[in-house]
Amino acid sequence: MIISIASGKGGTGKTTVALLMALSNPNAAVLDCDVEEPNCHLFLLPTWEEEQPIEIMIPQLNKEKCTGCGRCSEVCLFNAIAVGSNKALLFDELCHSCGGCLLVCPNEAWTESRKEIGKVRQGRAIDVVPGARLISGMLNIGVPNAAPLIKANIYLEL
């Protein structure tokens, strides 16, 4: 059974409730999806067993193939691409990895590249709530988009 604990406001007791539930179920796995500031590990004090970097797709430009036609800039819903000096200019912090630019480019100037946005760690509590597993995501500093890491945090376990 999956129980999700969420609230629109900080300090309401999400971590408290999640940890109390783990206390009452020896086979529980806690997924800390607050990838910007995870805190369950501060209470569970797990021994970390695994760490996995999580990457998202970011387009990469082949400047020689780019003619500055601007089609990628037109299609980008997130305003992540502009044109400067007749070449496409990517602001990757705005990119949502939709792949639209790759599809519309008439010269195949965009190719797929990867950018690491954070890590997912898995561990097991020893003293506090013995046996409870913790899956905790941690976003790299400066990365604006937490959603892909939250998804990775969930799907790696389920």
Binding site: G70, S73, F78, N79, A80, A82, V83, G84, S85, L89, F91, E93, L94, P144
Partner: protein, 120 residues
């Protein structure tokens, strides 16, 4: 040469809008034709992110050579700079007065973004 000035309204008697990315209008002056044109920037006013980038794209597409506005953020400045568009700062002027001040060399050129981006 085309001079683009951010404006609160669609007329050159309106005040210069100090915002660039989320300016209400762009006033475009073509000094060859001696004409003023107004372009609505509503789409970027409502953009969640990347308004500055998109506004800079619009200046490029309008073939602006000079941009007169109040504040430009880092991402917008990067696009303007990459396209060789000169950025001048003006505020408290009506659009037409800002253009006159530019002709008289009274406006300061921005060599870099002069405000932080919004959000991050």
């Amino acid at each position: 040469m085309k001079v683009i000035i951010t404006s609160y309204g669609a007329d050159c008697s309106d005040k210069v809008d100090p915002r660039f990315g989320r300016a209400a209008y762009f006033m475009v002056y073509d000094d060859q034709e001696n004409t003023w044109e107004s372009v609505c920037n509503q789409q970027n006013l409502e953009a969640a992110k990347g308004a500055g980038i998109q506004a800079a794209e619009n200046v490029r597409k309008l073939e602006g050579d000079i941009l007169i506005t109040g504040n430009v953020g880092p991402k917008a400045f990067k696009v303007l700079n990459a396209n060789g568009i000169k950025v001048l700062s003006a505020s408290e002027f009506a659009v037409r007065e800002a253009y006159e001040a530019f002709k008289e060399g009274k406006l300061v050129e921005l060599t870099n973004a002069n405000v932080e981006g919004h959000w991050f």
